[in-house]
């Protein structure tokens, strides 16, 4: 089971209240309030860490620097090498981060604009010349939903897998 949340504090409070409602009948009110605060604080902490992780990944992707340290391991799912850059789509749906009940896994959904780079095949003189001058790649932008899976390892969040979905 995972608890959906969004990146806005207002949404988080609303979802938190709904999730807490079924427990209210069996647990004393003071204890309930304490647990709820702790859970919400942990969730906020997790979300903040995941958001920071995502921002770090975006920065490294944009600057072309090695992002492997942000992943859970070398076999973690990466994006297709044809994806040249990923940027937030501010005209899209708000970011969504969902932390699993066990607090060890999470996933994120980010409306994104991605630049897809397609390498021209080196089958003609013109495409060979394009590659020889350091080009030979055609770029275009698309709106995509970036789906991220996160895993807590050694007390810190890491990226488990990334995938892009057409919208």
């Amino acid at each position: 089971m995972s608890t959906p949340s969004t990146s806005s504090r207002r949404s988080f409070l609303k979802v938190g209240a709904l999730a807490a409602a079924p427990l209210a009948a069996a647990v004393p009110a003071i204890a309930l309030a304490g647990q709820d605060h702790m859970a919400r604080a942990q969730r906020l902490q997790d979300e903040a860490e995941i958001r920071a992780l995502h921002q770090a990944w975006l920065r490294k992707t944009a600057t072309g620097t090695d992002a492997s340290a942000l992943f859970v391991g070398p076999k973690a799912g990466r994006l297709d090498p044809a994806v040249g850059s990923v940027a937030a789509d501010h005209a899209g749906e708000p970011d969504r981060i969902e932390v699993a009940a066990d607090g060890q896994r999470a996933n994120g959904r980010y409306a994104s604009v991605v630049e897809i780079e397609t390498e021209l095949p080196r089958t003609t003189t013109l495409t060979q010349m394009a590659h020889a001058q350091g080009g030979g790649v055609v770029s275009h932008s698309e709106r995509r939903l970036l789906k991220a899976e996160y895993v807590r390892t050694a007390g810190a969040w890491a990226i488990g897998a990334l995938a892009l979905e057409r919208v």
Partner: protein, 580 residues
């Protein structure tokens, strides 16, 4: 031309000697002591003076000019070396050049005597596997003036020369047409030394001194390796320059020259307005000194024997593969035409066979040559202008793996065929071509009598851009009646790498032409297109053989007029040419 150091048949495969470093050093020795030759009176502007040139990369060149042709150079405070030199001046510019005795290197320096800014070309041989190819590293800097702060301005790489072209006449009498359709390459036609039949391309530097004066270089990579640098006065159309290299007889050409130009016009640039940046093709990451991105087609093309060609053709022959399966050259192709479907016709060539056709559907036909057996073939056709059909097919069973690429004008009963074939003398996979003119014999087609399509110079000097598919745009420059050059654009739409090959141009109707180009010593492809200057479109067929097999594929692109150079007067049209 008697005595010419070039072959009688100009081609793109001049067999330059692979000179050794020792041979080069031996040839440079006397010249390093004596200095460059010049047909013009050299300048004594530097005689008796000392110059200290400080460059941005840290080198400091300290010169003492002991006379009009002797100098002493200390590099970075090192041991002074004596050398011969030569200098020319023009207006505020001065150019001097020298070699370093006992070494395979030297310098050419252009100084703006008004601003004291300097562009230094460090030159050396034996820096590439072909030792004769001159390497260059450009240093920007200034001449140090005692008691004066160092200037912050510099000469700088630019695209502002892109689109220019000139007819240069040097003080030696040598005439060339020089085109700068790229900001990284240039194209030149040697009218005097080669007769102006073919044009060649070379990587080039374009450096802005100010709005009136520029510096240009070219290195004849893949050919003699000769380096040329000159400063241009755009207002007066005059130049002062240096040539350094070895000609086809391996004689050292180390000379200063002056020249005067006729302005040939200017074609369009396609960078965004405001973009005047140079170095449009940046060097590779971690480039070594002097290294830049070059197109070396002769080095990289497959070179096959007749047996290998036969094997490759037998292994795979591809005729008009479906969209997406073939090359990217047909992304903007015209829709194919069924004009020929169901027709029976004869194409009777004056200088070729009689070809009978029984056309089935829009992609299948039967042909027979000179009354022989009927053979089935796949074809495709397009209608680039009403009643004008461009179609092509392979002739299976022909020993040279012929392909016919045809333009048939059914309104006028005329046909032109580019007969492509393999097994040419140098590399068997290189295409050769024969142009065949003739008539159409078919029901409802009037006989043209003695009229025929013919070669034309009407495209001469034109530059046309061709967008084949997203991200794949080139520009053609029709620079001689027998050659063309093509330019690839960079991501910022600056002219980038450039190459050239033999070509021919045939007039089909007013503003409608049929042309071919041969990628001779460059992949071996035969490209054929019908150019419709009114619809700004083409239709065409490529014929190519490589290790992957023989292919015939469609070509189609959106065209833009990029302008036209005024060069017709420099060419005498020869009406017959059938390259290998």
């Amino acid at each position: 031309m008697p005595g010419t150091p070039y072959p009688k048949q100009p081609m793109y495969r001049i067999d330059y000697t692979k000179l050794t470093p020792e041979q080069i050093l031996a040839r440079l020795g006397p010249a390093a002591t004596k200095g460059p030759a010049s047909a013009s009176q050299m300048s004594d502007a530097f005689a008796g003076k000392s110059l200290k040139i400080v460059t941005d990369k840290g080198s400091v060149l300290s010169y003492r000019f002991k006379g009009p042709n002797k100098l002493t150079l200390s590099e970075d405070g090192g041991k002074p070396e004596d050398a011969g030199y030569g200098a020319l001046t023009h207006d505020k510019l001065a150019l001097f050049a020298h070699l370093i005795p006992g070494a395979q290197r030297g310098y050419a320096v252009v100084i703006d005597r008004k601003t004291n800014l300097a562009t230094v070309f460090e030159l050396w041989f034996s820096g590439y596997k072909d030792n004769r190819e001159v390497q260059r590293e450009i240093h920007q800097g200034y001449v140090e003036q005692a008691g004066t702060p160092s200037p912050s301005a510099r000469h700088a790489a630019t695209n502002r020369m892109e689109g220019h072209a000139y007819h240069w006449t040097q003080d030696t009498g040598i005439e060339t047409l020089e085109f700068y359709p790229s900001a990284a390459y240039s194209h030149f036609v040697e009218l005097t030394r080669q007769g102006g039949e073919l044009g060649y391309c070379a990587p080039s530097d374009y450096i802005k001194v100010d709005d009136d004066f520029y510096i240009y270089t070219r290195t004849e990579c893949e050919f003699s390796g000769t380096f040329t640098v000159y400063a241009i006065d755009l207002n007066r159309l005059q130049q002062i320059g240096l040539r350094l290299g070895f000609d086809a007889r391996d004689q050292l050409d180390y000379s200063l020259f002056r020249g005067e130009a006729d302005w040939l016009g200017q074609i369009a640039q396609f960078e965004k307005f405001g973009d005047v940046a140079g170095n449009v093709v940046p060097p590779p990451k971690d480039a070594k000194k002097g290294e830049r991105r070059l197109y070396r087609p002769f080095l990289t093309m497959p070179k096959m024997t007749p047996a290998q060609v036969n094997e490759a053709v037998a292994k795979k022959t591809s005729v008009f593969p479906p969209p997406g399966a073939g090359p990217q050259m047909a992304g903007n192709a015209l829709p194919s035409s069924d004009f020929l479907a169901g027709k029976t016709l004869t194409l009777r060539y004056d200088n070729g066979p009689v070809m009978d056709y029984r056309i089935g559907g829009p992609e299948d036909l039967e042909w027979r040559k000179d009354g022989g057996a009927w053979t089935k073939a796949r074809y495709k056709a397009w209608e680039p202008a009403p009643g004008v059909i461009n179609f092509g097919h392979l002739l299976e069973g022909e020993p040279d793996h012929d392909g016919h690429m045809i333009v048939a004008d059914f309104d006028n009963g005329l046909v032109t065929c580019f007969r492509g074939h393999l097994n040419t003398p140098y590399f068997a996979n290189e295409a050769g071509v024969k142009v065949m003119f003739g008539v159409i014999e078919a029901e409802g087609v009037a006989t043209p009598g003695y009229e025929r399509h013919g070669f034309t110079d009407e495209l001469l000097g034109r530059a046309l851009t061709w967008n084949y598919a997203p991200g794949l745009t080139s520009m053609h420059l029709y620079s001689t009646p027998h050659a063309m050059s093509w330019i690839i654009f960079t991501g910022d739409d600056a002219g980038g790498l450039e190459w050239s090959g033999p070509a021919s141009y045939v007039k089909i109707r007013d503003q409608l032409y049929y042309m071919y180009w041969l990628e001779e010593a460059c992949n071996g492809t035969l490209g054929t297109i019908v150019i419709n200057l009114r619809t700004l479109h083409d239709s065409g067929i490529g014929y190519h053989c490589g290790n992957e097999g023989l292919s015939m594929s469609s070509v189609g692109a959106h065209m833009r007029h990029a302008g036209r150079f005024d060069i017709v007067k420099y060419s005498q049209l020869k009406t017959e040419r059938t390259p290998a």
